[in-house]
């Protein structure tokens, strides 16, 4: 109900809009960094000692994920049709992680671990 009132107040809307982006920036660093930290927290629970291949999955996928950040023009000679598929580092990392996991670990169902990870991601 408070939200409806806030939504009907143009003054509030103007106040929010007048916030310059550099004010948001300080909070953005925390906000977005928290997402990365949550990912690292989930990765901390992964067993690397008995399954060294997990290191490969993480190493290669994070590398794939930061390609568009570091080399934004990497796709300039590639066909235009595949640009939407490769311009997002998140998509590149997801595809790489799922495929490498299938390759190294197969499709073994470890539901308990999946549920624990999902709960951690939710709790962040």
């Amino acid at each position: 109900m408070i939200l409806i009132v806030l939504g009907l107040l143009p003054k509030m809307a103007a106040l929010v809009e007048s916030l310059p982006t550099f004010v948001l920036g300080g909070a953005g660093l925390v906000m977005f960094g928290m997402v990365a930290a949550t990912g690292i927290r989930i990765l901390a629970g992964v067993d690397y000692r008995h399954n060294r291949n997990n290191l490969f999955i993480v190493a290669v996928s994070i590398g794939m994920g930061v390609i568009p950040l570091i080399a934004p023009n990497f796709k300039q000679w590639m066909p235009h049709a595949i640009h939407p598929l490769i311009e997002s580092g998140i998509l590149l990392a997801s595809i790489s992680a799922v495929l490498l996991n299938l390759y190294f670990n197969g499709g073994k169902a470890d539901e308990q671990a999946v549920i624990v990870a999902a709960r951690q991601a939710d709790a962040h």
Partner: protein, 193 residues
């Protein structure tokens, strides 16, 4: 607060309840206005238009966006059973990697908020005005035929530092916001998850 009451049913003291309630409203408000704020700025709408979109949505192009979001929601509901069966492809090593990369990718946005977008009016370097004036003179000279014509699409690349990029005052304000968040975070008692 007797120990036999489940934490979910626990009733907090009024002061704490009000503070946490206000926090929740602010979080919800931030979530609701963040999208029009970011999309509106990306579309280069004037601040007044964005403020309007926050208080009541417009009709034309925005209708299409809202319609697509509703459509995406329906599709998500329909494919949810399928996705749940794909869960075995997503062990923690995969989800953790993906979430870490999402965070790392988003950091660019936060960093650009502080220093300014590296493209457009806040790009780190702008064309030197002297160079621009020279190109203008060369174009006029080329029109008289005294110098060879200026090639198509010739442009002056930015070489002078842009005062609008990474202003020290902006960095300082972002630092103040960051430090305030860290101070508030330290004074908070975090619920045990």
């Amino acid at each position: 607060m007797t120990p036999d009451v489940h934490p979910v049913d626990e009733r907090l003291p009024h002061g704490k309840l009000a503070a946490l309630g206000l926090q929740h409203v602010l979080v919800m408000y931030a979530g609701a206005v963040a999208v029009p704020l970011i999309v509106g700025r990306a579309l280069k709408l004037s601040p007044e238009q964005v403020a309007m979109a926050n208080s009541h949505p417009g009709t034309d192009g925005a209708g299409l966006i809202f319609g697509s979001i509703i459509g995406a929601g329906v599709i998500s509901i329909l494919i949810a059973p399928l996705v749940s069966r794909m869960l075995r492809f997503f062990p923690p090593v995969v989800t953790g990697t993906i979430i870490a990369v999402i965070g790392i990718s988003l950091m660019r946005i936060g960093i650009n908020w502080i220093f300014g977008n590296p493209f457009g009016p806040t790009a780190p370097s702008v064309p030197n005005p002297e160079h621009l004036a020279w190109l203008e003179a060369a174009k006029q000279a080329a029109a008289n035929g005294s110098v060879p014509p200026v090639p198509q699409g010739m442009a002056i690349v930015g070489s002078a530092p842009n005062p609008k990029y990474a202003q020290l005052s902006h960095i300082g304000i972002a630092a103040i916001v960051l430090v305030s968040i860290l101070l508030i975070a330290k004074s908070c008692v975090w619920p045990v998850a």
